[in-house]
């Protein structure tokens, strides 16, 4: 073969391989880019229904109103501007109220004088809070249009209500979802960690080799079952059982989610912590036994301290799996977007929210972007968890095989 061609083809193949090598990096960068581009732009959006504006009298000192306050004004939970930093009580004005101020004649047959009428109403009543379609905004509008329903970091992360399709202003408070995710995941790890550790100790230190060789692949098989099957199992077995056991109106609770997630986190916890325990040098164990320590003492004082970083990694990774899990949780937790008070209430996690709502959210709207913002939160959570695990396992002797 021509040596030049040979060299060229070698280089060409190396280039091809290099490009393939960068695909994962590129994907991560693209995921971050798209996720955050859509997610962050929710903070430029308004929660108020598309095409509507909110205006007040010029003398009003209030300049912006949060989505939550708008909802409260409409629900008449807030009836005074004092709550929002102004004075006097609020007079709510909606488009249909126009007939109490003007006759049909004044408005005109085809609403041609409607913009002027609205302008006059807003101008003449100091306490007014007017909500009307943007197309009826007069050219020389005499009121003050205020920045209303802007989604801020505070309303998003601190808001207590997730009600993205609410009228007139979408309520996008991620707090119940974040709390729901944490509750369900922590519940799962509380169930799975003691069980998983016990099984790992048994498999690495106590069980005969024969038992271990059967047990390990079986437990790894547990990791292979699709999450939707776990969800289905939870739905037809665990949910009714919980409902009966605790005498609840519905069985779809955070606890059901925790149990299913706990089962799903078990293989992760067992395999990683078992690997760590088996990495304890034989010489250390034998030294301990030779000094007269019992097997139990050796496990407690030698094996576990030696593999503690691996065990920690297993626990954190287990939480990570639980936080990111979607389908099983979606099917068994009941998905009520309220701040949880007990594990026996329906809860809703971030992944479940995305899965349940993205299909119905209009492309590019507030709701759509808010779901991407949730995706960002999820991404950051799992990234932090994975980096922590790498830090823990990387800084100690323990290495994954």
């Amino acid at each position: 073969m021509n040596p030049f061609f040979k060299k060229f083809s070698e280089k060409f193949i190396e280039g091809l391989l290099m490009i393939s090598g960068t695909v994962t990096s590129l994907t991560v960068v693209l995921i971050v880019f798209f996720l955050f581009k859509e997610g962050i732009s929710v903070f430029n959006k308004k929660a108020v229904e598309e095409g509507y504006v909110i205006a007040v009298n010029k003398s009003n000192k209030v300049n912006s109103i949060s989505p939550e306050d708008i909802k409260n004004i409409f629900d008449q939970k807030i009836t005074s501007w004092k709550d929002l930093g102004g004075k006097d009580s609020i007079i709510l004005f909606r488009l249909e109220d126009i007939s109490t101020y003007f006759t049909d004649e004044q408005i005109g047959e085809n609403f041609e004088r409607l913009p002027a009428c609205i302008s006059r109403v807003v101008d003449s009543i100091p306490q007014i809070f007017a909500f009307f379609p943007e197309k009826y905004m007069d050219k020389n509008f005499k009121g003050k249009e205020i920045e209303a329903g802007k989604i801020s970091f505070n309303t998003f992360f601190g808001g207590k209500e997730w009600f993205p399709t609410a009228q007139p202003a979408a309520q996008l408070g991620a707090k119940p979802l974040i709390l729901g995710t944490l509750w369900v995941s922590l519940g799962a790890i509380l169930l799975a960690l003691p069980l998983g550790l016990a099984a790992a100790i048994y498999m690495s230190e106590i069980a005969k080799d024969k038992v271990r060789r059967v047990m390990k692949p079986l437990i790894e098989l547990l990791a292979g079952i699709p999450s939707v099957v776990y969800g289905f199992f939870g739905l037809v077995v665990i949910v009714p059982a919980i409902q009966k056991l605790f005498n609840l109106p519905v069985g779809e609770t955070g606890l059901a989610g925790s149990i299913i997630l706990g089962i799903m986190a078990l293989p992760t916890i067992i395999t990683i912590s078992e690997d760590a325990m088996r990495n304890t040098p034989r010489s250390m164990k034998e030294a301990s036994l030779a000094l007269g320590a019992s097997k139990w003492q050796t496990i407690c004082r030698v094996v576990i301290p030696h593999s503690i970083s691996g065990i920690t990694a297993a626990a954190i990774l287990g939480i990570g799996r639980a936080i990111g899990e979607t389908m099983a949780v979606l099917m068994v937790t009941g998905n009520a977007a309220v701040i949880p008070h007990s594990i026996l209430e329906p809860m809703r996690t971030i992944p479940a929210t995305i899965a349940a709502e993205l299909g119905e959210a209009p492309n590019g709207g507030v709701h759509y972007k808010a779901l991407f913002a949730l995706g960002c939160i999820l991404f950051v959570m799992t990234l932090v968890i994975n980096l922590t695990v790498e830090f823990i396992t990387g800084s100690k002797k323990y290495k994954k095989h």
């Binding site: 090598g21 994962t24 069980l195 292979g224 699709p226 099957v229 199992f233 739905l235 099917m331 995706g375």
Partner: protein, 294 residues
């Protein structure tokens, strides 16, 4: 007197120890028991549903009757599509990582990024797939968009298993080949890859198992709720087994009546996943011995 006390102490210590060990063993078996319960429950309830008609007929009457043929075909299309994309790229990336690039910053970055990618929750892949493939590139809800999304999800699995397979090839093979004057690529293609091949295939099978059960990434990129016809092109929507199971067990029009179908679907899904896992395990053991003998 003292001697007796010590004996007693040792005995009670020993009793405590054996009690603790018994507990640990018990828990271990309980966990295996959970697995067997989940499996046998699905098998027990699903086995009466499965018939030739069930896997070769279209769903009927709001999915309360008929089969799951289009869902099976849809899943096959998605698995095939994602592997066509992920397998070559994953294998090439692993070859690059293991055979070509030297230890250093680039290798570290690629490794880190692959790790990060494998840690991303599957629903985030779904979001990404929707933003990029469905909306930005305009594929719409299609097999293409779903396959690409699933492919990205499977990529770290393929890379990791291939890397392990390549690492298992003894360096003496490489040195011998290079020493005979073969180029790097010739060495890789003629020596390293044939030896690592069985383990690479094992990785492929494992990723097939993983991909065929994923639901969250296909929710918004391909899945159709009810579509009693087969896809004709890669731009068609399709049904898929995991999504089908989700839909008929939670939001079907007649949840109670379609329950048997749900059990059947779950069983088919589990059979696919178990078969791939068992096959992968078998191959690993079978070829593992063979390679060592060489």
């Amino acid at each position: 007197m003292k001697q007796v006390d010590e004996n007693k102490l040792a005995k009670s210590k020993k009793r405590k120890q054996s009690l603790a060990f018994f507990m640990f063993g018990f828990i271990g078996f309980v966990i295996v028991g959970i697995l067997l319960t989940v499996l046998s429950f699905i098998v027990f309830k699903g086995v009466s549903v499965i018939s030739w008609d069930f896997i070769t007929k279209m769903p009927e009457e709001g999915m309360t009757r008929g089969g799951i043929y289009p869902a099976i075909i849809g899943t096959l299309c998605l698995v095939g599509g994602s592997m066509i994309f992920a397998f070559p790229i994953g294998v090439m990336a692993a070859i690059y990582m293991n055979e070509y690039v030297r230890d250093g910053i680039i290798k570290k970055i690629i490794k880190q990024m692959t790790n990060n990618l494998s840690g991303i929750p599957s629903i985030v892949f779904g979001l990404f797939g929707m933003a990029l493939f469905v909306n930005k590139l305009g594929f719409g809800d299609s097999i293409l968009a779903g396959s690409l999304t699933l492919g990205l999800l499977a990529l770290p699995v393929v890379i990791r298993t291939t890397e392990e397979a390549l690492k298992g090839v003894d360096d003496t093979f490489r040195h011998a080949s290079l020493g005979l004057g073969a180029t790097k690529w010739q060495t890789t293609r003629r020596v390293v890859l044939p030896i690592a091949f069985p383990n690479i295939i094992t990785g492929l099978i494992l990723s097939v198992g993983r991909v065929s059960g994923e639901t969250a990434p296909i929710l918004f990129t391909v899945a159709a709720y009810f579509l009693p016809k087969l896809p004709t092109s890669i731009f068609d929507q399709a049904m898929a087994l995991p999504y089908h199971l989700y839909v008929i067990s939670t939001s079907g029009t007649n949840i109670e009546e379609s329950r048997p179908i749900a059990y059947g679907t779950a069983l088919v899904l589990i059979i696919i996943v178990l078969l791939t896992n068992i096959l992968a395990n078998f191959l690993r053991k079978y070829f593992g011995k063979k390679v060592k003998m060489n």
